[in-house]
């Protein structure tokens, strides 16, 4: 009972933020006929193109490869937004947030909810694709979403603060980060398969942290078999990022808003 009383205001805030994200997403697409449907539609179109162009083996059915790419791409969009979309959060949105009773930390939470909202819509698309092309994938592994969601949320908000801080301290880094993220897209197994690869791709699959997050997302939806080592690696990376971000936040919160 006490726990529920403690939790309720946070849940209420979260629901309110999701509602705001929905209205904001709706208004962003208000001049189009399909409106908010453009979010999954653009994901669908780009994934279809990737799946058709980069299908590497005739042994793998198109449907299976499409689901593989889609399950990686939707999480990639979330990661990309966590990095590229965070370069100007404080500089461009804090004033708006303050006028709406949201603190700096609340602002980062709100921006995270925006990303989760988009991920949620794209996940619906993935579920539909799985039901069509790979219905056997659904299983108890879906319960791992309960671990995945907090894990990627914490990682995303930590990464967002660090990226924003770096860009405030070194404004040139904004362009560098955005360009770097484009490179990481190609260096991550979004549309290429890492099973059995050697050379550079093997190195990328092993040392690129993004690989582990894409893999655990795929494992939740049964696109890949569940591997404990992948989860543990992702958790260690997240824990390190959260720790660094928390320490950095504690040390910089008194100056970050005053840098113009």
């Amino acid at each position: 009972m006490n726990f529920w009383r403690w939790l309720r205001p946070y849940l209420s805030l979260l629901i309110r933020f999701f509602h705001i994200s929905f209205i904001e997403a709706q208004s962003e697409h208000q001049s189009t006929k399909l409106g908010i449907l453009w979010i999954p539609l653009s994901t669908l179109i780009f994934t279809a193109l990737l799946a058709l162009v980069f299908k590497h083996s005739d042994a793998v059915p198109v449907g299976d490869f499409f689901v593989y790419v889609l399950s990686g791409y939707i999480l990639w969009l979330f990661i990309q937004d966590s990095i590229s979309g965070s370069t100007t959060v404080i500089q461009s949105r804090l004033d708006f947030a303050i006028h709406n009773n949201i603190s700096m930390l609340g602002l980062f939470l709100k921006v995270l909810v925006d990303r989760l909202f988009e991920l949620g819509i794209n996940t619906v698309l993935l579920v539909v694709a799985l039901a069509l092309f790979s219905p056997h994938s659904f299983g108890p592994n879906l319960l791992l979403a309960l671990v995945l969601l907090p894990l990627i949320s914490l990682t995303s908000i930590s990464l967002a603060y660090l990226v924003n801080l770096v860009t405030i301290m070194f404004p040139d880094m904004g362009a560098v980060i955005r360009t770097g993220v484009r490179f990481v897209f190609f260096a991550s197994p979004v549309f290429w398969v890492y099973d059995g690869v050697t050379g550079v791709r093997h190195l990328l699959a092993t040392y690129n942290p993004v690989s582990y997050y894409l893999a655990i997302n795929r494992q939740v939806f049964g696109v890949e078999p569940v591997m404990l080592r992948t989860w543990l690696t992702a958790m260690v990376i997240s824990a390190a990022l959260v720790a660094i971000s928390a320490l950095t936040f504690a040390r910089t919160k008194s100056i970050v808003t005053n840098i113009k």
């Binding site: 309110r16 004033d95 708006f96 303050i98 006028h99 009773n101 949201i102 008194s254 100056i255 840098i259």
Partner: protein
């Protein structure tokens, strides 16, 4: 129940700007603005220096000073948009900042969409949002314009719209930068209600009439430091004299 309070103890606040071009030129002293210090990587604008101040529940306090004297910095600090570099800041109570027309609204969205968003941000229960939005529409008197993007509004229409949103404001501490003139009596009464509802009012203005109407105590800031604190007429007279003396000195 804890009482609303703003307490600053030896607070100093600086802005930091990346150095570019000839930084030495930034050291030139002007007739307005706070002192600029040239650091290794940043220019430091010392916007507030060792300010100590207590505002208790029930107080209506005004801020006066020339441009760049630190009024906005003090307001932004209390609103949480800036942080202190040294000293201690204690705020008890919810703060509602009203810095300028258009802050906190999205110009690409319609009046209706903005009103709906404002309700959600301010924590209005879902079941009452529709009623609130209709109330904002009625108060604003914008008619069909309520459905159009804010960017298509004239300055007067925007002012009416922003004022109509004010009943949604639920802050115990009301912070206002400059006074937004009321456009009609209906909107004027909203302002009055908002101010009377607030437990603390902190208002920056250059207008003697506005300050005498709304505040009892006046703080005069000069180059980031407290120059005087006291009753409005007393402090404003001193400020006015200082301004006249400054003008006369500039003419010589």
């Amino acid at each position: 129940m804890t009482k609303a309070k703003i307490e600053l103890t030896n607070v100093s606040v600086s802005y930091f700007l990346k150095k570019s071009g000839n930084s030495q030129k930034a050291l030139e002293k002007g007739s307005v603005g706070a002192q600029i210090l040239v650091g290794k990587r940043y220019l430091e604008v010392a916007a507030l220096k060792n300010v100590s101040l207590t505002i208790n529940e029930g107080e209506r306090v005004g801020l006066v000073g020339i441009n760049g004297s630190g009024k906005t910095t003090l307001l932004k600090l209390c609103a949480g948009a800036l942080s202190v570099q040294s000293g201690k800041l204690e705020i008890v109570g919810n703060v509602s900042p009203q810095f300028s027309l258009g802050s906190g609204i999205k110009s690409t969205l319609s009046g209706r969409q903005n009103a709906r968003l404002k309700c959600l941000y301010m924590g209005v229960p879902q079941s009452r949002i529709l009623d609130y939005v209709e109330e904002v529409k009625r108060l604003s008197g914008l008619g069909g314009y309520f459905e159009l993007p804010i960017q298509s509004y004239s300055a007067g229409m925007k002012s009416r719209f922003v004022m109509s949103l004010l009943p949604l404001v639920r802050g115990e501490i009301l912070i206002m930068d400059e006074w937004i003139n009321a456009t009609d009596t209906a909107v004027d009464s909203i302002q009055q209600r908002l101010i009377s509802k607030a437990k603390i009012l902190l208002l920056a203005s250059h207008s003697r009439a506005v300050l005498e109407t709304w505040v009892e105590r006046l703080i005069w800031l000069d180059r980031g430091e407290l120059r005087a604190v006291g009753p409005v007429s007393e402090v404003y007279d001193a400020y006015h004299e200082y301004m006249l003396a400054n003008k006369a000195a500039a003419k010589k």
